[in-house]
Symmetry: C2
Subunit: 265 residues, 2 copies
């Protein structure tokens, strides 16, 4: 049986922080045929609000520590301000968006990251097998487009801050048995470069073997490694393709064209 | 055809601001048999956050003016902090809650209140006929409990602050053709008093005629008038019953008992 395609698109803070880029992205996203899912990150608004409220941002090993006050800010900004404005903007573009986080309908459950040498606070690691794929399938079947904020819950009343890239890949994997899933990470670059000093040296198709070779050579930037690790993990678990590319090329990426992205295959 | 009952419950700020009362309410709410819907107001958190951020609260004719900065706070606190924490707490009580506002799936559309003598800013008046009753029916049929924050959208990308009492009654009226709807306004008093100086003189059943008589005598407090006007409007439009009472009596009110509430009939 041939399954229908499902596009899952993740946008990061750089688009959310740039109003013109965001409107252009939303125009393009609204035009992609449904079924589709949007996941979004945070952007600078959470950091700015924390600063205004005098809540210090604690970073450990390059990652933000989520104490109770920081979690409240994440919930307000991600699940409130950003999520609901994205939803309202998509309605205006005739895209029937529904904003949610992992607590809603209990769709994405996580465990609070266990305390080892570092306490990251209220950060959640997704329980992949607990993602409610039937809930998402039901929404998608009604022509509804889920717009997902990067928060989960532990099933015991606690919200948890969760990495949006990881959440995108976990949702893609969960829906792979039901759809031919294509996952796209939209960011500010055109893809994985063969030569980091040459912006035009985008690799159109990257196999896991090539990726491991590039990584061993130190030719993959630190910021790309978690994205690519997530990408290949998703492919090994049944996702049809994962693209990493520039949000401005979304229509081409969604059409499966190469050029504006690296496709992990 | 006998329709299945649907309980629609509205809680106000006084419960949201009192942690012990809120937990008790959520225990009681979770135990009410589905289908059910929860609507919530704002509480003091929005005012406190506005003060912390140095955003002045403007009141005109006893109502809050929603400028752009105040709207952002409402979206963060109502649709983010309050809504998602209520949802996570309900999941912990085995109630499959889904948080949303009127922008989500475009379910409750409004028009920005027209400028007359007062500009209330980004405040929405609900377009009753635009409430998507099939969307709510579909969620309820899946055993999902909508938890609704008091925000709507205008269909053109603008979120709008909307009175939670009015929203509860509009949703109740919209679903009256599909369910035997009972609407409950939970607040801090036990109902409408026959004698404002006697807390035990709760009127168990109040007809619209009696209400008009009490109002003419000046025997109804100013704060109760909009609630009661909404209540009788809902009944005229097919809602089976509207109770106004103390949240602590929710189990009795939900069972249709009198004592902890006034039933408008």
């Amino acid at each position: 049986m041939k399954m229908s395609p499902l596009n899952i698109i993740k946008i990061g803070g750089n688009i959310l922080d740039d109003e013109a880029a965001l409107h252009r992205f939303l125009d393009d996203f609204a035009r992609i045929p449904a079924p589709k899912i949007l996941l979004h990150g945070g952007g600078k608004k959470a950091t700015a609000l924390a600063a205004q409220l005098g809540i210090p941002t604690q970073m450990v090993q390059g990652r933000r520590v989520t104490d109770a006050a920081t979690l409240d800010i994440a919930v307000m900004v991600y699940a409130g301000l950003i999520n609901k404005n994205l939803v309202a903007q998509l309605q205006a573009r005739s895209c029937r968006a529904l904003g949610l986080c992992g607590a809603d309908a209990g769709c994405i459950r996580a465990v609070k990251r266990p305390l080892k040498d570092v306490d990251f606070g209220f950060v959640g690691d997704i329980i992949s097998e607990a993602i409610d794929k039937d809930f998402f399938h039901n929404l998608l079947s009604q022509g509804i487009t889920p717009v997902i904020a990067p928060l989960t819950h532990d099933g015991q009343g606690q919200l948890l801050n969760t990495n949006a890239d990881t959440m995108a890949s976990a949702v893609a994997v969960a829906l792979a048995p039901l759809y031919e899933v294509r996952l796209m990470y939209c960011f500010e670059k055109r893809g994985v470069l063969r030569d980091v000093n040459d912006a035009l040296s985008v690799i159109p198709e990257l196999s896991e073997q090539e990726y491991e070779a590039l990584k061993a050579q130190g030719a993959v930037s630190a910021g790309m490694i978690p994205k690519l690790d997530n990408a290949f993990a998703a492919i090994r678990q049944g996702v049809s393709g994962v693209a990493i590319g520039d949000a401005r090329y979304l229509p081409a990426i969604a059409a499966g064209d190469t050029g504006g992205a690296t496709w992990c295959v």
